[in-house]
Subunit: 155 residues, 2 copies
């Protein structure tokens, strides 16, 4: 089960290059349920996400680079490419971090920050850093599966 | 983990219509690892089978009829169609059954019997019924994933 909040970001922190960056690439073969292939640096996965909002079955199953590329060609719409910077989040009881996704073409300029929590209470109590922009947790236009079939920046 | 033996069948038991028949349809999106979609009567699944011969990670994840059809169009090669008749196997300590697969075009005439066991010892001790033909447990030409890319009967 994933409990996360999601925010648009328009101003980047100045010290961004202090943090490790991963190259993420992902394509959708199905959206309901989600069947997704993802490259995360040199690791490759097939992800299945069952139906349901609060509790959602999720499986991440290993692929080879070759099977990833083969399945990626079967993706619907756009294969999303983004750089992911992981920034430790200070001032939390539990160890939490910000996943900052900087999207490549055709979504240049789109930057989304995601924070994952251990409980709904923790998610609700979270005060976003001042550099976070508009919250888009409940806006389907910022789901990667939506973006994959809608090139360009969400309105 | 699956432990099974597989046999060609050329002579069918006379009382075959006593047993329930299921319609099975399956396509392969990847073969290493196996990513397969299957219809089994009115149920639909995405199956992932990890690498490995003896111990093989296997997941069967539910699909809707719609997502099944969508993913089926992405299958490589032939979508295999077969009728599966399940026949109880008599004279075994444990409750075992024969899965008899009668293939449709382009594999008309191909009939394969599979029996699944609880252990290697049990598999080795199994005496096939007299109507079973040649054993093909170790012959990759009778794997469904092989058939999907090789139309016609194996030589």
């Amino acid at each position: 089960m994933e409990i996360e909040r999601k925010f648009k970001v328009t101003v980047l922190p100045a010290d961004l290059d202090r943090y490790p960056v991963r190259i993420i690439e992902q394509g959708y073969l199905s959206t309901a349920p989600v069947v997704r292939v993802r490259r995360d640096n040199d690791e490759y996965y097939l992800t299945y996400k069952g139906a349901g909002l609060l509790v959602r079955q999720e499986y991440n199953l290993p692929l080879t680079a070759e099977s990833y590329r083969h399945l990626c060609e079967k993706a619907d719409g756009i294969v999303i490419r983004k750089r992911r910077v992981v920034i430790p989040l200070e001032g939390q009881k539990e160890k939490r971090s910000i996943e900052l996704d900087l999207f490549d073409a055709p979504f240049e300029g789109l930057v989304i920050a995601e924070v994952e929590f251990g409980s709904e209470e923790e998610a609700k109590a979270f005060t976003p850093p001042s550099w976070f922009g508009e919250e888009v947790t409940y806006d389907p236009h910022y789901h990667n599966s939506w973006l994959s079939s809608h090139p360009g920046l969400p309105e």
